[in-house]
Amino acid sequence: MKYVDQTLVHKRMNSRVLKNNILKQVFLIATLFGLAVLAILIFRVVTQGIAWIDWNFLTGKLSTFPEKAGIMGAILGTSYLMLIVIPVTLIIGVGTAIYMELYAKKGKLQSFIATNISNLAGVPSIVYGLLGLTIFVRVMDFGNVVLAGGLTLSLLVLPIVIVAAQEAIRAVPGHLSEASYGMGATKWQTVKKIILPAALPGIITGAILAVSRAIGETAPLTVLGIPAFLLPFPEGIFDTFTALPMQIYYWTLDASLVDEYAYLAAATIIVLLVLLFILNAIAVIIRNKFQQRY
C-alpha cells in the first residue's frame, strides 16, 4: 500500500501554497518597515537641516545666535576622540583576540572569559560612562578632557573589536598555520606573517564598525560631564572638548528656548550621518579589496 495518498495531497495543496505566499508577504513587509523608518528619519532630518549647512556652520565657532553658530569645535572633538579610540581598541582588542584564540589553553577559564567579553558588549553605554567618570575623570584625575572621553569610549567598543577580531582569526584556515609551523616558524612568526595578514580585512571591518558606534555615543559623554557649549577648540588630548552627538543632544534640549536650535541639531545630525556613511564605506572597501580566497 502507498503511504502518500494523492487525493489528500491535492486537497491540501491550495492551502499550502497560499500559506507560502502569505508568509512571503509578511517577510517583505518586515523588511520594508525598517526601510520606511530609515527613509522617514533621513527625510525629516535632511529637510530640516540641509538649509543650515554652509561653510560657516562647518568651520565656525559656537554661538548662542543660531545664524552664527558653527560646529567646528564638535567636529574637532569627535576627531580627537577617534585618535584615541582607534589605536587603543586596535592594540588592546587585537591583542586580546590573539591571546584568546591562539595562546590561551582551551578550557573552562578561556570560555568563561570569552562569555564575559560577549556579555560586556551588551552592557548599556551609560554604565561605561559611570565607569569612565570614576576611573579616568576622578581617580586618575584627567578631568573631562579628550583623553578621558576617548578611553571611556574605547572601553565601550572594545568587546566589539575583540569579538570581530576573534572571528576573523578563527576564520583563517588551519592548514595555513600548519604549513607555517611545519617549517619551524614560532607562533609569533606565524601570527605576524600568516594569520594577521589573512585576518586583517575582518579585523579592520570590525574596528571601523566599532568606531562608528563610538562616534554616535552620547550617554557616556553626558555622564563624564562633557560640556555642550564650549567656545575654544580643543588643541590636544588634554583639552576640554565637545563632540557631535553632545551638540545634537543639547541643541535638541534647548529647542524649546530657541526654535532654530532644532534645525541646527538636524544639520549636525546630517554631518554625523555623512561621517558614519563614509566610515562604513571604508569598511566595505577594505573588506572587498583585501579579501583573500583560500
Binding site: P173, H175, L176, A179, Y181, G182, G184, Q189, A198, R293
Partner: protein
C-alpha cells in the same frame, strides 16, 4: 638502491643506512583515546618509508608525532621516546622549531600561502633569518627545480600561488619544504587530493628526492606504497602489525592481517 640484509625480524629491518628516527614504546593518547600503542620503529636514512593502514589506524598521528605537529591538538599526551639523530625529541626542553627545520612536512591538501610563488618558497628561509636577495633567489630556483616545477613557473614567480593547479600547488609545497633544506621529509597522503597524472609526477619526484632526503610517506594507496617505498609499515588500530622491506610486505607478509589488508579483504 640500498642493500638490505636478510633480516626477517619484523620490527627492525636493518640495512647499511644510518637510522634517522627510532621510536621506543611510543604511546599517544587524544584525551582518553589510545591512538598509538607501543610503537617501536627504526626509520633509515635516504629511503622511502611508507606507512599504510585503514582509516583511523593512527598512521597520520604517527607521522605528525615525528615533527610534533600532533601537539597542535591540545589534549594530546605521549609516553615513550622518539630519537631523531640521537636526540630525544619528545623532551619538553627540545625546541620544536629546531626539529621542524630539519624535518619538513608536506600535507594532505596542498596548502600554499595566499602569497606569490616566490614568497611561498622564501617563507621558510626568511623565518630562519636569511635576508640576502641573491641567496633567496638561488634558494627559490634550486627548490623549484628540486620539486620539478621550475620550468612551469619560472616566468610567473610573482604571481599568486592559487593560480596553480592542484598538482602544481602540491609540488610547490614540496619545493617550499625543500627550501628549508631539511634532512627528512614527512608526507601525509600527499596525493590523495590529486588526479592520477599529478599523482604520478609526485611519485616520480619522491623517487628523485630519496637520493638526498629520507622520506616518510603516509598513503591510502597500496599500489603507491608498493611502487615508491623501500620499507613499509602496516598500522592497525594504533599498533604496528608488520614492518619490513616493501617487497616482503607485498609478497610474503608474515602476519595474516597484513595479507588480508593488502589483498583488499578489509580497509
Amino acid at each position: 638502491m640500498t642493500t638490505l640484509t636478510e633480516d626477517k625480524h619484523a620490527y627492525s629491518g636493518s640495512t647499511n643506512n644510518r637510522v634517522v628516527y627510532d621510536t621506543k614504546d611510543l604511546n599517544l593518547w587524544y584525551g582518553q583515546t589510545h591512538a598509538l600503542k607501543d610503537i617501536n620503529l627504526s626509520i633509515y636514512e635516504k629511503e622511502v618509508t611508507a606507512i599504510i593502514g585503514p582509516s583511523g589506524c593512527g598512521k597520520s598521528t604517527f607521522i605528525k608525532t615525528l615533527n610534533r605537529m600532533v601537539e597542535l591538538v591540545p589534549t594530546v599526551s605521549t609516553s615513550g621516546t622518539i630519537t631523531y639523530n640521537d636526540k630525544s625529541i619528545l623532551d619538553k626542553t627540545f625546541k620544536v622549531e629546531d626539529l621542524r627545520t630539519q624535518v619538513g612536512m608536506v600535507f594532505q591538501k596542498p596548502n600554499p600561502f595566499p602569497k606569490s610563488i616566490y614568497d611561498n618558497i622564501t617563507y621558510g628561509p626568511k623565518i630562519h633569518g636569511i635576508r640576502s636577495k641573491k641567496v633567496l633567489d638561488e634558494i627559490v630556483e634550486r627548490s623549484l627545480r628540486g620539486a620539478s616545477i621550475w620550468d612551469e613557473v619560472k616566468d610567473r614567480l610573482k604571481e599568486n600561488a592559487y593560480g596553480l593547479s592542484g598538482g602544481q600547488q602540491q609540488r610547490l609545497c614540496i619545493a617550499r619544504c625543500l627550501a628549508i633544506e631539511p634532512e627528512v621529509i614527512l608526507m601525509d597522503e600527499p596525493t590523495s587530493a590529486l588526479d592520477p597524472k599529478s599523482t604520478l609526477r609526485i611519485e616520480e619526484l619522491v623517487q628523485e628526492l630519496k637520493k638526498e632526503y629520507s622520506i616518510i610517506i603516509v598513503t591510502h594507496n597500496m599500489q603507491q606504497a608498493a611502487r615508491i617505498s623501500d620499507k613499509t609499515a602496516f598500522f592497525l588500530n594504533g599498533e604496528v602489525v608488520e614492518y619490513d622491506k616493501t617487497d616482503t610486505i607485498f609478497t610474503t607478509p608474515s602476519d595474516n592481517r597484513t595479507e588480508d589488508y593488502i589483498s583488499g579483504r578489509f580497509g
